[in-house]
Symmetry: C2
Subunit: 122 residues, 2 copies
DNA sequence: CGGAATCCGGCCCGATACTG
DNA sequence: CAGTATCGGGCCGGATTCCG
């Protein structure tokens, strides 16, 4: 990944790509709720996760934010949205197989965050 | 990490910790400039990185943001700030040994971001 | 029930000007 | 050179209301 470079040009090019990748990651996974929703869906993947259930269980989130965040995640193929044929209708959300790929990322952030809290205390 | 739980209590507790850790990580490493600065300092760790040099090389950042972000990073022990006894004075910034610990995190984000761009295109 | 629409406060961040 | 002060726009995110 650290490419050998001739007067910095190759490195700069790959660096731009990497910066864009970081930006993408932070935009898609960053913010107050996205990773929290992903982790929640993963923890409860055996259950039906309706909108209302998610709103109850993800403490503090408003309907507006939950709706918006779910749309964002769905657009990025990280979760699936299924309208159930019930009365009244319910909608079921689930993490996709591709969505599982974010879990290692969250795990990295969890580990760094835990370690950092230790470091700052010391 | 996924602790066995009795009626969910232990899992909820550890989950709260992990959520706080994620929040910490995103607050400390998130935003538009922090990781970019960290990567820049790491790439140029062999050089003297003065305020002005950083502002020139990190494209688009204003003095105000650079100043603020550097302060945040220093508070979290991720970079060091050294006032050089030159005339006029210059200040040298460098990544700390502890600061190196964020590089694997950024690498994870880079990899996920690159992979995601492929996925979305398909 | 699952949303969309609206309003609004705060802060993230940029531009500009100024200081030691 | 290395910052601060000030202003202001935009967007994140919360509260409330309304719709199918």
């Amino acid at each position: 990944m650290d490419t050998i470079n001739i007067n910095g040009i190759i490195q700069e090019a790959s660096c731009d790509q990497e910066l864009a990748a970081i930006k993408d990651s932070l935009e898609i996974l960053g913010g107050k709720w996205k990773l929290r929703i992903m982790r929640h869906l993963n923890n409860r993947h055996a259950e039906k996760n309706t909108f209302k259930k998610l709103q109850r269980e993800i403490e503090g989130i408003s309907a507006k934010m939950l709706s918006k965040e779910l749309q964002d995640l769905e657009m990025n193929l990280l979760i699936s949205r299924t309208v159930m044929d019930t009365r009244p209708i319910t909608v079921n959300y689930a993490i996709t197989e591709y969505g599982l790929s974010v879990l290692p990322v969250t795990e990295t952030l969890v580990q760094w965050g835990l370690n950092h809290r230790q470091k700052i205390k010391a």
